[in-house]
């Protein structure tokens, strides 16, 4: 194996890229087991240790999940543990309960300047906008406005959302084959306007968390842009720094 200098990429990263590619093309689907390390080693003609290192990195990135004695699985948003990876909201006191997602609106539009920049699509391209409410213990806590590229989410409608019980990302994954694997959130404090005050049942002007999120799929391609307003009277945004 020759290791040419400027573009040197170790073997295990090339293997990683190949596995990634198989995930992207849907050869192995979320929730399913991928082939064993031995099989992959044979397939790619490398040692098991090299496959192992590739998988190690992907497990650290939450793309794969290892289960000793069973196998290695493609991570899925159907797994309830995955929910709080993207929703870092915790009640001030009391147990961590699962929220209920209530779709309010869903319509099509053309991408404006901001949406086109955030989603890396042409201005004027088709987008879908979803507004939805998140309730914890039957109390409204988050109001979200979500922008999706129309091309990837063809057929998404209010009815689709109504009929789905589970997280949005598990819907996107199951119905549209779009897997969210990372995101960047920009957080500020804002005053509740009329709309937010109505939806969240708080007085106008109440300080709220504004959480702007760009979500990425494989290859760091942005596929969702959303803005959430969080009522932090009884919840807070929890962040671990390591």
């Amino acid at each position: 194996m020759s290791h040419e200098s400027p573009t040197f990429s170790p073997l295990y990263r090339q293997i990683k890229a190949l596995i990634l590619q198989a995930l992207e093309t849907g050869e192995w689907r979320p929730g399913q087991a991928i082939p064993s390390e031995q099989e992959l080693a044979a397939r790619f003609s490398v040692s098991q240790g090299t496959v192992r290192k590739a998988i190690d990195e992907m497990a650290a990135e939450n793309l794969l999940v290892r289960k000793q004695g069973k196998g290695t699985y493609v991570a899925s948003h159907n797994d309830p543990r995955a929910l709080f990876r993207f929703l870092r909201l915790v009640p001030v006191d009391g147990e961590l309960s699962s929220p209920q997602s209530i779709p309010l609106d869903c319509w099509r539009a053309k991408a404006g300047q901001e949406a086109s920049r955030m989603l890396a699509i042409e201005p004027g391209a088709s987008i879908i906008i979803v507004r939805r409410l998140l309730k914890f213990s039957n109390k409204p806590v988050v109001i979200d406005e979500i922008y999706l590229p129309g091309e990837l989410f063809q057929g998404l409608s209010a009815e689709t959302l109504q009929g789905w019980h589970g997280s949005l990302y598990s819907l996107f994954e199951s119905r549209f084959g779009v897997r969210m694997i990372g995101a960047q959130e920009r957080i500020r404090a804002v005053a509740a306007d009329r709309g937010a005050s109505d939806a969240l049942k708080v007085p106008e002007g109440t300080p709220l968390l504004s959480v702007e999120r760009v979500t990425y799929t494989y290859g760091d391609r942005p596929v969702e842009w959303r803005r959430g307003l969080y009522s932090t009277a009884e919840h807070f945004y929890l962040n671990e720094l390591n």
Copy 2:
């Protein structure tokens, strides 16, 4: 090597614990190089690969920093790269500039209920309280109130803070031997009270981010509790979700 079942801990974790212990006792200090993998392998009578795996984990936890060709170093808050690991504040537009820390007050007190719970010390134990302002490009952006266990930070005074140029954590590390290695932040939105409005030069009632942080040293021991109020007019809190 026998691997008794219920309390089984792999060898590389035991090595990790030993290295951790050496860090804790100050055998190797922040910024310094630790012995080479070969030396450590000899010292602990294991293979280099086992030491390597222990160090891998500690590098992933930002306790050690590997530098190919040079050696492995103890992570330090003197390293300017470490600053934004704990200060996730980014200007809306413009370059990422380093903030200026301006100490306002520093006094001793007895731990109340909340401080004693957060710092895991006895109620009534001695604590030190610091108030300080953070300026970016000479504009006030963050006002912090910081609670420290008096026992660990004996001799910390307003003069100490005045004379220090660098981050607080690099001061704590250099002068008091206390290394911050992780933290948990609870974020909410609040309205600026009189004090915050004065310090941050914003109208009373302006929505601000309230960031409560508990910071941990080795062994997950809490050693700092602080509350910051962030003005998010020209900055936002940036969080990466993976």
